[in-house]
Amino acid sequence: MAKSKKILIIDDEAPIRRVLELKLKSRGYEVIMATDGEEGLNLIKSQEPDVVISDINMPRLDGETLCKMVNPSKKTRSFLTIIMTSRISPDERLWVSEMDDTVFMEKPFSPSKLLECIDHYLGIQR
């Protein structure tokens, strides 16, 4: 069941992408990756992932804009979005709360916590 779930990681930081890829693949998820928001947007449209994990500060298209662009499409096809943020502004929490099926995870986060969040959303018991 878990194998059918597709997770998209969008981050310009290669070490983050690498560690999350290893963590999620070890739990049977299919992982696809993008290095910036624009590439991520294309993959959301083409690959229709079940979960999107995205950074905010990225070249070409930042995470906030990306979320706001794809949020309307969640009305027809819902998927979980996890925002990895190092920002401390209350404004961040506000715009995230206005998005559908979107949570934020403050850096530095634990990969295990991230996995728990994904499993919980997808209803997977381990």
Binding site: T35, S86, K107, F109
Partner: protein
């Protein structure tokens, strides 16, 4: 000069007494003469009145006698005067004829012909014709008076018709003499003398009363002029003065009080004038200060009428002072945000904390941000007399605030990213999720690199903090450039080997000496070399050279990397600036390295420059002056 002397000489105290006395005597003579003239006029009028009264009495008697006589005679038939009673009448009348009595008597028949004519002397010819005619033709009693042409006597003529059987049968005319009263007659002279004596006595008493009172007042006036309020002692002995003394004392006291008040008012007036001058000066000073300060001020009364507006605000509103002063704020200030802010403030507590609101003037000051605030002007507690509205340009503060927020966000991101990596990688290793030894090694290396990255970032932040606070000090010392070059290249050589990048060193045969802060300068050059390594693709080449040119030690770093876009070159030394080039952004970087490098070079009075072409590589040059070393050598 002589004329001047002779002009001023009579005004001296010793010589001025005689003329003044003469003037006083002359004035008193005039008063005496006037009073004497007044006495004569009053006496004349009084005697005139007396004689007039007596004359009126005499005339009254004369008229009474005349009318009585003419009525009596008119009772007799006309024929009696022709015959039997004619002589009797004439005899009787002759007895009346005296100086004070009858002058003439005529009895005419109905044709006007005289039947009896009793007129001694030539009296008949002195009677005016019109008097005779009026008497003859008047149907009732006629009374006339005239003055005789010759003797000038005053004659009263009385006439009455004689009626018989209902018809006029004749006329009786009677003339009586009137003698005017003579004032200097024996019987009047004593009364007149008494009147003159009485008036004379009253005038003398009045004269002295007035003269003494005037003298007393003159003394008082002169004392006032000399500011000497002492009274002459002989005044108290004077009878007239004693009468007026209480009045003068009161007057003196009143005048003294008035003078005191006058002096007080003069003093107060003088003080007020000087205070007004000071206040006007201070007001002008305050107005100048208000006009010179670099924020807008509008002062209104409690009805929002503008009392003052400073130069800054006028410039901001692009209006003239006369267009705004003494006019309602709502009419003159065409700015909805400010007006709504002020109306909101009016609702709030006057003693409450001052609020403010950000506003803009898109037409007059585009792109700039202003802050409006207001406060009440209070003369006492809860007694406001007006409002002050402040408009301050906070564009720079806003930019600084945005910059500060951006800095914090950026630093947080830069610090948390390597921390996240360290945490994630170490957690995976601890949880035993990585079993493959090669992957384990990769993980340990990543943790090590991220730790170095974090360390470098913290070091850069500390340097930036020191630079911004002005506390970054240079510990200059003698630097051996051969050792220095080795110290710079060592940290990058391992990574260069991993990326198969060749490092070419162009070093002189004799290494120059340099006075510099070795650690800071090394950090600067490592930043340049680190960038060259980071942004040069595998199998590239980095050339590092050191030369001595024109008193400068010149370090050059030339790479065959991605190069820098022309539009990025002016900004690469700005704090936190990173290019949008994906080849750049895919590399980790804080945007602080080149900023700190340039600061360190400038602290050494050096220069830093860059030449670059996109796709071909970059060429950085750092020039540090040698002069400090030469001074140290001496």
């Amino acid at each position: 000069m002589r004329m001047k002397y002779s002009f001023f000489a009579p005004r001296s105290k010793g010589d001025g007494t005689q003329p003044r006395m003469r003037t006083i005597k002359m004035r008193l003579s005039w008063i005496g003469m006037s009073l004497l003239l007044l006495l004569i006029i009053v006496t004349f009028l009084f005697s005139k009145m007396l004689t007039r009264q007596e004359e009126e009495s005499k005339i009254q008697n004369l008229r009474s006698n005349g009318i009585h006589l003419v009525n009596l005679i008119a009772l007799f038939p006309i024929k009696d005067f022709e015959t039997a009673k004619r002589d009797f009448l004439l005899r009787t009348l002759s007895e009346y004829t005296s100086q004070e009595g009858l002058i003439y008597l005529f009895i005419h028949d109905n044709t006007g012909k005289p039947i009896i004519s009793f007129a001694p002397g030539n009296t008949s010819s002195q009677i005016p014709e019109h008097v005779k005619m009026q008497s003859l033709f008047t149907m009732g009693l006629a009374e006339q008076s005239f003055k005789t042409a010759v003797s000038g006597e005053i004659v009263y003529e009385f006439a009455k018709p004689i009626f018989e059987r209902g018809e006029k049968a004749g006329t009786v005319r009677l003339g009586l003499r009137f003698r005017p009263v003579a004032i200097l007659s024996l019987q009047h002279i004593s009364i007149l003398a008494m009147i003159i004596f009485s008036l004379f006595a009253v005038l003398i008493l009045g004269y002295y009363g007035i003269v003494m009172s005037l003298k007393r007042l003159r003394t008082l006036h002169e004392n006032f002029k000399r500011n000497d309020m002492d009274l002459p002692t002989d005044m108290t002995s004077d009878i007239s003065a004693r009468h007026v003394m209480p009045m003068i004392d009161d007057l003196e006291q009143s005048l003294s009080q008035i003078q005191d008040k006058l002096n007080q008012i003069k003093t107060i007036n003088s003080e007020l004038t000087s205070k007004l001058g000071v206040t006007t000066f201070e007001k002008n000073q305050i107005m100048k200060i208000l006009d010179s300060i670099n924020f807008g001020i509008i002062i209104t009364d409690m009805h929002n009428n503008v009392g003052h507006i400073n130069g800054y605000m006028l410039k901001l509103l692009n209006k003239k002072r006369e267009e705004i002063i003494d006019r309602p704020l709502e009419e003159t200030l065409n700015h909805d945000d400010i007006l709504s802010f002020i109306s909101t403030q009016e609702i709030l507590d006057q003693d409450g904390p001052a609020n403010h609101k950000e506003i803009t003037f898109p037409d007059l000051a585009p792109g700039e941000t202003f802050q409006v605030s207001s406060s009440y002007m209070q003369v006492s507690e809860r007694n406001p007399i007006g409002k002050m509205i402040f408009v301050k340009n906070i564009t720079h503060e806003k930019l600084a605030e945005e910059s500060r927020h951006g800095f914090i966000a950026h630093i947080a991101h830069e610090l948390l990213t390597p921390l996240t990596n360290i945490k994630s990688y170490s957690e995976m290793l601890i949880d035993g999720e990585i079993q493959d030894p090669d992957v384990q090694k990769e993980f340990y290396n990543t943790i090590n690199e991220e730790t170095n990255r974090l360390s470098l970032l913290v070091q850069n932040l500390l340097n930036i903090s020191k630079i911004e606070m002005g506390s970054l000090t240079i510990n200059r010392g003698l630097v051996r450039t051969d050792w220095f070059v080795d110290g710079c290249l060592a940290p990058i050589e391992a990574s260069a080997l991993d990326k198969n990048i060749t490092i070419e060193k162009k070093l002189p045969e004799t290494f120059p000496m340099l006075m510099a802060d070795k650690e800071l300068l090394k950090a600067a050059i490592i930043n340049i070399l680190g960038n060259a390594l980071k942004y040069t693709p595998e199998s590239g080449k980095i050339t590092f050279s050191i030369t001595e040119q024109d008193g400068y030690i010149v370090f050059e770093v030339i790479d065959t990397g991605y190069g820098i876009a022309t539009e990025d070159i002016p900004h690469i030394f700005d704090k936190f600036y990173r290019s949008d080039n994906p080849l750049v952004t895919k590399q980790t970087g804080s945007g602080l390295g080149l900023s700190i490098t340039s600061d360190i070079v400038y602290l050494h009075n050096g220069e830093i420059g860059v030449e670059s072409e996109l796709g071909k590589g970059s060429h950085f040059t750092i020039r540090i002056p040698k002069e400090e070393y030469q001074i140290g050598k001496e």
